[in-house]
Amino acid sequence: MPATTQRLRVPARLPQLARVREFVHGCALRKGLPERETFACELAADEAFVNIVVHAYGGESDRPVFVRCRGLANGLVISFVDEGMAWDPSPPSAPPWESTQAEVTVGGLGRLIIHRAMDGVRFRRRGSRNILTLCKFRSGFSPAE
């Protein structure tokens, strides 16, 4: 099937968040994802971008974040590429407030949301780059491995 691909390159700055979300929003809508799945993609993209700025680049800078959306027959693949330090996108096993620790902390919340909002999350380090690939399928479909 012919895959439509859209690309965006933005500097690693938080004011770019709205632009990243709007890009993903447009791609998801064009792919025909319903409102709820579209919102899930925006949410995961927001969290991913913030993690890249904060964890991969260690703070705001003009270094690049590449976003690519590729339509699948039944969903959307969103990938984020950055040139920063490797970061750990694996989720905590439970929300921090369900932790048995006396002091409830809030670390890991973004990663938890990414994993729960999306149907598939894959992180790779290739050379000096981080590649985070997220996919979301239309309701009723599950990821074709």
């Binding site: 938080l14 004011p15 968040l17 709205a18 979300r21 409102e35 709820r36 919102f39 899930a40 925006e42 949410l43 927001d46 969290e47 913030v50 439970a94 929300p95 921090p96 407030w97 369900e98 409830v104 809030v106 919340l109 973004g110 938890l112 949301i113 729960r116 909002a117």
Partner: protein
């Protein structure tokens, strides 16, 4: 993002309007901190006008929840729209913070 606050004697209702994300959560946090610092121990978050809510907003909510509980009060949510409810649920916060269908039910819960 804009924050509309209604302060009553025994409770304050805070309604963030628009997008609460990493860019705007500081404003949201400042308003909640102002209310806690001015002596409000019971807060209602009206999430009916949220266009976007990310973990940055949830962190503010959780930290405010801890402050109010430490002061002998609490925080709860009213009228969460679909997006806000989805994020609260994804994060598991809906099992930690009471969610009420209306502002009045939220206010009456204290």
């Amino acid at each position: 993002m804009d924050v509309k606050t209604t302060e009553y004697k025994r409770v304050a209702v805070v309604q963030p309007v628009g997008r609460v994300d990493s860019n705007t959560s500081a404003e949201f946090e400042a308003e909640l901190r102002r209310l806690v610092d001015s002596g409000h121990i019971n807060l209602v978050l009206d999430l009916s006008k949220i266009d976007f809510l990310s973990s940055a907003g949830l962190r503010v909510i959780v930290s405010t929840m801890k402050s109010t509980r430490k002061n002998g009060g609490n925080i709860c949510v009213a009228e969460a729209n679909a997006r806000a409810a989805e994020v609260m649920k994804l994060a598991g916060l809906d099992s930690v913070i009471d969610m009420h269908p209306t502002r009045e039910a939220a206010i009456a819960s204290f």
